[in-house]
């Protein structure tokens, strides 16, 4: 009986140690993540390479429905109604514009959407959207790729007309 009690005591102590370890890891994570919370504040707009060759804000065009955005960025929808292949571009996971886009347009969080893309990549079922370095690259790539779709911060939408003018002048 004494051995039995001592065994239970030992097991109990072990479990308390495990619990303390878990609480420790959780506290550390909470502490180190507080700064990241403050960074996530941006307003985002989806842009698309329109059939006429211009890049326009997705909400201000009539050819494609708003419901398609979610299907495109989860790689379910892979061609436009006219048969042109869709090429989706994304920004890095720690970019506030990317976080806002995932939250606002895909109604999920960056790790859940990353899991959907990882499922495609690591199961051989398909490929994920192409990750670009920044908004500058995003604008350039959407311009030069027919069928492309991406997103930028709303305050940078004015650059679409500038890039369009530059392109036409060439």
């Amino acid at each position: 009986m004494a051995i039995f009690s001592s065994y239970h005591l030992k097991t109990d102590l072990n479990r308390r140690k495990l619990f303390s370890t878990f609480v420790g890891i959780l506290s550390l994570s909470l502490l180190l993540n507080v700064q990241i919370l403050a960074a996530a504040d941006a307003t985002v707009s989806v842009i698309v390479h329109y059939p006429n060759g211009h890049v326009v804000e997705y909400q201000k065009q009539n050819a494609y429905s708003p419901e398609m955005i979610d299907k495109i960025f989860t790689s379910k929808l892979r061609s436009w109604p006219n048969g042109l292949p869709i090429q989706a571009f994304i920004l890095p996971v720690n970019n506030p514009v990317h976080r806002e886009f995932v939250h606002k347009y895909l109604n999920t969080n960056v790790y859940q959407i990353q899991r959907i893309w990882n499922r495609l990549i690591f199961s051989g079922r398909g490929i994920a959207p192409i990750e670009l370095l920044n908004e500058e690259e995003m604008i350039q790539n959407v311009y030069k790729t027919p069928g492309a779709v991406g997103y930028i911060s709303t305050r940078n939408l004015y650059r679409l007309s500038q890039t369009s003018i530059l392109k036409e002048s060439k």
Partner: protein, 402 residues
């Protein structure tokens, strides 16, 4: 103590081979913005410590680092119809898998048609098995809900047989008025040079026969309703028949032995803000035929079931947590808890901290009752297993895109 030297040598060899492959991949891959070739690599190193029973290796009660994965993945889009994809993987999983590089999958994908609303194609080669919410991406550490998937549903001890099939996979996607439907059907065989299936089915008694191949076919339906965009449903059916080569020493008594298992699984997932609730329920039906030389044959049918409930919560942008309860009962007619390998009840707490976008750390604690579906390692001894036991594990994962 830990067999550090041995571990380093083993780890070093596979790491060296895969490093060469990674250099090759980075040379093949064009700029990061290329759609033609995408290469991804990952490496993870874990630690396991079990209490009151060994887990994966007989050394786990002292603590063991025999838990690592190195993978290299390539996707090559040849043109709009053809795509090629493959993954090289090295896994050290206690004493079950010892780090030898293996081809995880290698396939050619041909798009039969795509009219926007409907798309269909065929994959051939070694294709991943679509089964439940997590099976086809279970090799990538950051895709798993914690370090280990719920064994009640995903049969951790039979990972190689579960994860892929050498054969064909027909797939299609349909945008319907009610929602999005993805359909997969597959047929093929899977062989493995290790003894995991033999150990699993014959409990390590190696003088009965060899079981290194399994015939598989199945169907997977995935549905996202338009009316409930935060809900996902999945149905999986898998029929698996291990091909048993009887040992000549016993063929005088048993002329033939056949075993088949049919798995039906329903999955549901619901997301509300930073909370994701998932549940999967599996119905298990087995059929065994043993034909004896000198007596009537035996036909044994069993039915069992398994399920889990999981709550995932993201309290912070870089922190994921999981709370899960899973249950497995191999035979509904044998509910006694004396047979430790016949059932399991597992409560799991796990968290993942995304230190950097490419780097994360995962910790998992399992409180376990019963030993069903626990991988059987060499020197596994039923007498060493306690009814109540627990496992603490940690894993550092690094992922790189080329």
């Amino acid at each position: 103590m830990f067999p550090a030297m041995h571990l380093r040598n083993r780890f070093g060899k596979s790491a060296c081979r895969l490093s060469c492959a990674m250099i090759l991949a980075s040379a093949m891959a064009a700029s990061p913005a290329s759609a033609e070739v995408q290469a991804n690599a990952f490496i993870s190193q874990g630690f396991i410590k079990s209490y009151d029973s060994p887990f994966l290796t007989k050394d786990s009660e002292e603590g063991s680092f025999k838990l690592n994965e190195i993978g290299l993945n390539l996707n090559w889009i040849y043109n709009s119809d053809w795509r090629f994809s493959g993954q090289l993987l090295s896994q050290t999983f206690g004493d079950i898998y010892e780090g030898e590089p293996k081809i995880d999958y290698l396939l050619a994908d041909y798009l039969l048609f795509d009219n926007g609303l409907n798309r269909a194609g065929i994959r051939a080669g070694r294709v991943k098995t679509p089964y439940g919410l997590y099976n086809d991406s279970r090799d990538y550490p950051s895709s798993r809900p914690g370090i280990f998937l719920p064994s009640a549903i995903y049969f951790e001890g039979l990972r190689d047989f579960m994860v892929s099939t050498d054969g064909v996979n027909l797939y299609s996607t349909h945008f319907l008025s009610g929602g999005t439907l993805e359909v997969d059907a597959y047929y093929g065989e899977k062989s493995s040079s290790d003894d995991s299936l033999e150990l699993y089915l014959l409990k390590g008694i190696d003088n009965r026969g060899d079981i290194n191949r399994m015939r598989k076919y199945g169907l997977n339906l995935y549905f996202e309703p338009n009316a409930l965009p935060s809900m996902r449903f999945n149905y999986s059916y898998m029929n698996a028949e291990p091909l048993i080569d009887l040992d000549p020493a016993i063929t005088g008594l048993i002329s033939d032995a056949r075993y088949a298992v049919g798995l039906h699984m329903l999955s549901a997932q619901y997301q509300y803000k930073n909370h994701i609730f998932s549940s999967e329920y599996m119905d298990i039906q087995t059929h065994t035929d043993i034909e004896y030389t000198f007596q009537p044959s035996d036909n044994i049918d069993t039915k069992g079931h398994a399920y889990y409930f999981q709550w995932q919560w993201l309290p912070l942008p870089s922190l994921e947590t999981w709370l899960r309860y899973s249950y497995y009962l191999g035979n509904n007619d044998k509910r006694d808890e004396d047979n430790l390998r016949g059932y399991s009840k597992v409560s799991t707490l796990a968290l993942r901290w995304h230190i950097l976008p490419e780097l994360n750390f995962t910790a998992q604690y399992d409180h376990r009752q019963g030993h069903a579906n626990i991988p059987i390692f060499p020197e596994y001894d039923d007498n060493e297993m306690d009814k109540h036991w627990s496992v603490l594990s940690g894993q550092l994962n690094y992922h790189k895109k080329f």
